[in-house]
């Protein structure tokens, strides 16, 4: 499964090469042109079958994941680090990580419970109080293995949890390898419009890749594909979760970075209804996506975001549903196939 390879791949912001290579291999025989730009965005172009001039549609998924950057090598060979993107310090202690160009296994340190005072156990250590242990016995030995500025990600292997029901899968970096896998599936279709699949870098540090990709592509419409927040755990109060597993692709109406184009929201809802595809709205407000950068490119691009709900994103491990994944592919294929006719 491509999703498995993508999830397992190493790709913190700025170090997306491994992910990009996987994606290039997956799409190269399904598209007309493939290029990598100055920021490392992989842009796959698929020529439309409609008459010229054809509408240009940009479909974006980001290749990077949140991670850690090595910023300090201590005398004892332990590695200090900073967060790359939104990493929650509470989730880090005693987690396995993969470090740097050499893909070294390591562990984020934690004092053993035997030696920890009771009141310390309820406290969270800050990121600058944590270090990574790669088993090096000295500063010199560590420096032979890792350079400052190299990055690390969580050591998590993809697994299928449940073959039936919601068809749940477990892995890291579903934000946004889910979106990448959806975009690859879209390359298999035939559309009247010109399709630009942009596998964009550095989303987690500020929507940076998508910004320059949109500038180059100059699309008429923009879609951002995401693995997004899913907090459907049981709650006491009557409140809406951001998204729910198994309820289908989540359509964004508004988030921190953009207000979705009303016409594109309507297009997605109409196509979901016409094709019997379940869908849900992502709770307005929280988070941001590459649509925030795309819609402000040049003189403006009508944009929307569609997401595969993924529990526990920005942590070492997420859970998502293959049903939601496949329904997101189906909805996006239907929406792209309805263009340009459905756009007024």
């Amino acid at each position: 499964m491509l999703l498995e390879k993508l999830s397992n791949a190493f790709g913190p912001s700025g170090s997306e090469d491994e992910v990009r290579r996987l994606l290039a291999r997956a799409v190269h025989d399904k598209v007309d042109e493939l290029q990598t730009d100055a920021l490392g965005n992989l842009i796959a172009f698929k020529r439309g079958t409609g008459a010229e001039p054809r509408m240009k549609v940009m479909v974006d998924a980001h290749t990077d994941e949140v991670g850690l950057m090595i910023t300090r090598i201590e005398k004892n060979g332990l590695l200090g680090f900073r967060a790359l993107g939104g990493v929650d310090a509470r989730l880090l202690m005693a987690k396995g990580v993969i470090v740097g160009e050499k893909r070294l296994p390591g562990v984020i340190t934690a004092p053993p419970i035997h030696l920890t005072e009771r009141e310390q156990r309820s406290k969270v250590l800050k990121i600058n109080q944590l270090v990574i242990d790669i088993g090096a016995s000295s500063e010199d030995e560590a420096k032979k293995l890792v350079k400052l500025g190299e990055v690390a990600t969580f050591d998590t292997k993809f697994e299928v949890l449940d073959e039936g029901g919601l068809r749940t899968v477990k892995g890291k970096a579903f934000d946004d390898r889910m979106g990448c896998a959806v975009a690859v599936a879209l390359a298999e279709g035939e559309y009247a419009v010109d399709l630009y699949l942009s596998f964009s870098t550095q989303e987690e540090v500020g929507l940076r890749g998508a910004r320059v990709a949109a500038y180059r592509i100059e699309p008429d419409l923009g879609f951002a594909l995401e693995g997004t927040i899913c907090d459907d755990m049981p709650k006491k109060e009557d409140v809406s979760p951001t998204t729910e597993l198994g309820k289908g692709p989540a359509i964004s109406v508004m988030d921190r970075t953009f207000v979705a184009d009303q016409r594109l929201v309507r297009l997605l809802i109409d196509q979901a209804k016409a094709n019997g595809i379940p869908y849900q709205f992502k709770q307005p407000g929280a988070g941001g996506t590459d649509a925030g950068a795309i819609h402000l490119s040049k003189a403006g691009v009508p944009s929307v975001a569609v997401s595969v709900p993924s529990r526990y994103i920005h942590s070492p491990v997420s859970i998502a549903s293959l049903n939601d994944f496949e329904n997101t592919v189906a909805l996006m294929k239907a929406a792209l196939s309805a263009l340009p006719g459905a756009w007024s």
Partner: protein, 330 residues
């Protein structure tokens, strides 16, 4: 002019849903302009061509107002919401909201003592008179604006959304009064200012102006115990020097001051401690644009009762017309 202010301020137009405002403005200006179009983001762009030898000037005022977006419908049909723009929850309880289709809702706190202690939006709900989740389910994702009627106090006027329908009014009046200017003047009524100057960013890229001037409200600091700033109602339009996101182009600012003095138009200088306007987005467009801002001092900004002085509004129009009548060299 008060009639236009009333019509514009009472209409519905939170960020991203500016279409009703756009249609009102289009009807007001269409017969006075050489070209009019709506760009991809929804900005209304009206061009009045100059007599030649002039600059390409972009005037911007934003159509959108702050509001709320419905994020949850509960079992009994009560709605919960998230902010669109800088909404102060202290101004909300007991107030009303309006949907694009005209449906009205009442905003109420769960428990008053708790809300007083921690006035968080999560403690407020909107009641649209629905009796079940099913009856209100389609409201999820819809956007509401606040409801408050326009009030004419004579020299001063009060309404919701003076920020920035008063700027829209200044642009409409300037456009109607503009005769024989050498400059090609693009009157750009922008979208999504309140969520991050987004319409002005793409609008400025599209227009590619030589000069950018925003017209917006600024905080009047002439009320009891107000933060110490210079802006007052009735002292004339404010010529912006600085705000939270930009330093006005000094040449353009000086030209505004010289023009006001030469034409005996009252003015005041604005140094705003926080906040910003579409001018900040225009300034950073493409390779940079000399940008400034003419502000209208406004009390109670981002509340449903924003107050301005009608003389300041008239003098802002005079100042812009006087500037546009002469060559602009900065």
């Amino acid at each position: 002019m008060k009639e236009l202010i009333e019509k514009l301020t009472e209409a519905y137009g939170p960020s991203g849903r500016e279409e009703q405002i756009r249609e009102i403005i289009r009807a007001e200006v269409e017969s006075f302009v050489d070209e009019i179009r709506v760009d991809t983001m929804g900005n209304l762009i009206a061009l009045k061509k100059g007599t030649g030898q002039g600059k390409k000037v972009m005037l911007a005022a934003h159509m959108d107002e702050i509001g709320l977006i419905i994020s949850h419908v509960d079992e009994e049909g009560f709605l919960r919401a998230q902010r669109i723009g800088g909404v102060d929850t202290m101004t909300l309880t007991g107030g009303r909201v309006q949907f694009a289709d005209g449906t009205v809702g009442v905003i109420a706190p769960e428990k008053r003592p708790e809300f007083r202690k921690d006035p968080d939006l999560s403690k407020l709900y909107i009641d649209i008179g629905a009796t079940s989740r099913a009856e209100a389910a389609d409201r999820l994702g819809q956007v509401v604006g606040f409801v408050r009627p326009f009030a004419d106090m004579g020299q001063r006027v009060v309404s919701k959304a003076m920020d920035d329908r008063i700027g829209c009014t200044v642009l409409v009046e300037t456009l109607r009064g503009l005769e024989g200017s050498p400059h090609d003047v693009y009157f750009v009524f922008t979208v999504q200012e309140e969520v991050g100057l987004r319409g002005a960013q793409t609008g400025a890229f599209g227009v590619d102006p030589d000069i950018g001037i925003a017209v917006d409200v600024t905080i009047a600091a002439d009320t009891p115990e107000a933060y110490k700033m210079a802006m007052k109602l009735g002292d004339g339009p404010c010529i912006k020097v600085k705000d939270g996101r930009m330093l006005a182009h000094s040449g353009l600012k000086d030209l505004m001051i010289e023009t006001a003095e030469a034409n005996e138009i009252p003015y005041q200088l604005e140094v705003l401690a926080w906040g910003s306007t579409d001018a900040a987005a225009m300034q950073l467009s493409r390779g940079g644009v000399p940008a400034g801002c003419v502000s209208i001092a406004c009390r109670y900004v981002h509340s449903p009762s924003e107050m301005v002085d009608i003389g300041d509004v008239e003098n802002a129009v005079r100042l812009l017309l006087a500037m546009l009548a002469e060559p602009i060299e900065v």
